[in-house]
Symmetry: C2
Amino acid sequence: MSKRSGVLEFAVLGLLRESPMHGYELRKRLNTSLGMFRAFSYGSLYPCLKTLVGRGWLVEEPGPEAQDPLAGALSGRRAKIVYRLTAEGKEHFEELLAHSGPDAWEDEHFGVRFAFFGQTEREVRMRVLEGRRSRLEERLDRMRASLARTRERLDDYTLELQRHGMESVEREVRWLNELIETERASRDRRSGPDPSDTAK
Amino acid sequence: MSKRSGVLEFAVLGLLRESPMHGYELRKRLNTSLGMFRAFSYGSLYPCLKTLVGRGWLVEEPGPEAQDPLAGALSGRRAKIVYRLTAEGKEHFEELLAHSGPDAWEDEHFGVRFAFFGQTEREVRMRVLEGRRSRLEERLDRMRASLARTRERLDDYTLELQRHGMESVEREVRWLNELIETERASRDRRSGPDPSDTAK
DNA sequence: GTTTTCATGTAACCCGTTACATGATTCA
DNA sequence: TGAATCATGTAACGGGTTACATGAAAAC
């Protein structure tokens, strides 16, 4: 029933798709490789892994050291649990990757989506980047409007905070512009410059 | 009992300190004037107001239109509830303002603290700005270290994401540097340039 | 041999949102 | 008169954290 709306879920599936791992290692990768923009604790990771197993997207496997006859002989030892993506799990993740709905470019989701762009279709990448950009442009419009309405009643610090906030958003828009540009260029290089396209 | 660790609580007290308001208006101010960096819904605002009243930091007052004899005569009408900061509430908020502990420069708190810098002592402002800056510098160190360790195993998109993330943090550090500079300049202008200070 | 780091989990809580319910006032 | 906006609230849920408990393996 639970939606598991899923930044964490998405990231876990994505990382496990590259290679099986146990929880501890997974968490480190979440907070470094992928991380910077979001941190997770074991308190959320392990329960998440459990529910993914419950849905058949992951399987728990004994760690490789279970092959070791010495360790195997000693009963009662708790082996590392290595999580591996199942076929259904892979299929599900690919569906998620193909999706480019509005939620894909919200603040919380965009970062993790971008982190897996390497596995994402070019067209989907474009839609997500452009969606994100127009999302931010809407926000800029609202900020500018609100600033125009309230400029005089605000003190210097509040004003400075808003100015800095707007600059941050403008900066991200420029970044997206560059990325979109690059994507387009590499697409055009592939299919050859199309006069009917560039003439527009 | 509840901690109410309080971005919302802080902002409510701060806004009501400037002038009494009813909930609806309060929420708008939270999401525009102060806002951009955080939004709140009624579902969190009204319960928060209730608990603040419960602690004696706010009082509910009938809206000004209750003075209107016509409206007052019509029984059963639900008046707007105007919230006003009590003396204890004001005292409490000033304690919060004076505080410059580590939590003041965390991501979640820093924005709201900055928004009320207009009401904050110069020394406290300095400590918060400097605390925030060193917090971000630590983060940069960790990012650089992690990047150096993992650079080759990462694909282009992940790398680009990290690069952009680091640039964002670096940019905020530069912003803080300017703010600190400005604060220092205005302080020095006050007390006159001190040779023993500038010689260092 | 002891401290660190690796490794797995659980229970309680926190701060907030969404969706809903209700009704008054203003504007077209 | 009907729609938009003003205005106040509640119940259920959501996605996470903190603090705790446990124990093996590695490093010193």
